[in-house]
Amino acid sequence: MLDSELIQRAQAGERKAMVEILSKLETPLYRTAFYLMGNEQDALDATQEALLKVYRNLPSYKGEAMIYTWAQRIVTNVCMDMFRKRKKVVLMEEDAIREDRNAGKEVEKGAVISDLKQAIRRLPMPQQTAIILRYVQEYNYKEISEAMGLPLNTVKSHLFRGRKQLQKWLSEYQEGGDFSWQMKK
């Protein structure tokens, strides 16, 4: 855990304390970035960028949120920025609906999604984030709310929708009978 004394020392300019904080945040931030970005290299890039932002902004961190959730918000925003810059996929609502129809067709065609991690990455970004924070970071609703900067009920909505969508896909795959939707061990 990062105690407030360590944070205060870092805010006061003690570099050793700052490096200790970055070290403690590194792995949790990497884990979120890994699941959001989907590969090791992008996750490392996102982690590096997020830690830089933590360093630059720690002096103005006021402690309204836990430092872990505050840093999680930074890394999720960094990941979204990386997607945006690459013009990959951060979809407007109407696009999301269209994509979902395509997703349905893909399932109908019997396309295989053999990996739970891949299935998560097919969810809209807020749902992905809520699922990752809940299960990989083991956050409760309040912590997810802080990390995403969203109201509690909105967070629940994203989490519930994400789980429901995964359940739907799981059920469809099982009905297909051609393959099982199991996580790689």
Binding site: R15, R31, L51, N57, R122, S157, R163, S171
Partner: protein
Amino acid sequence: MADEKIMEWSQRNLDNDLSQLEKSMLEKHLQESTEDRQNADELMEVSRQLSLLPRTDPPHSVIPQVLDQIEREETSRSKTVSSPSRTRWLSVGRAVAAAVIVSFAGLFALMKFQSSDLENGQKMGDTNEAGVYSQLEEKDANMEKANSVIWSPNQTYRAEWKERKLVVVRADGALQYERLFNSEQLQLQKIEWLTDQVVKVTLIHADRQVPEIITVDVVKKQEVQ
């Protein structure tokens, strides 16, 4: 119990968010309804699999690169002024970072690192589930569209262009600043934060070549030059 309530409680049950009474009521209902029991079981299986997701560790530490970048930035910022104390902490920092790397190396020697690169899959959209999900959504749902929301560098404010309005909201969701642009000809080109409290909005007018730039201090709630 209504279907929506069952669905919500089944979900909250997975997150240990039900009171003892609610849990008992849910259990009682699920014993009586095969369909709802099956749905709850399926959700539980999804949740069980999610809880088994591997806690992947980074293959190496990026802290040395972070410290190098900070050093480069600070050096370029103070080219003319040499500051020994500034570089001294970086040496300390690098020593600590080296210790972190050694720790990582030790860990990886003991553990079989699970490296599982994922394909860059395309995101699919959300479904419009009626009922409980819609009920849970709040007025600021639109703020979640990631590509229209820009956070301030210190993650305190988020700026969004919404129906000819620049809307700035604090992290807790409270409105900080709002400004309506009357012309329907204006379209957003870009939102960017110049500082932690100054946001720059670039708008394009349908009839003009030159973009209109508005810079606002959202704390003072006034336009700045």
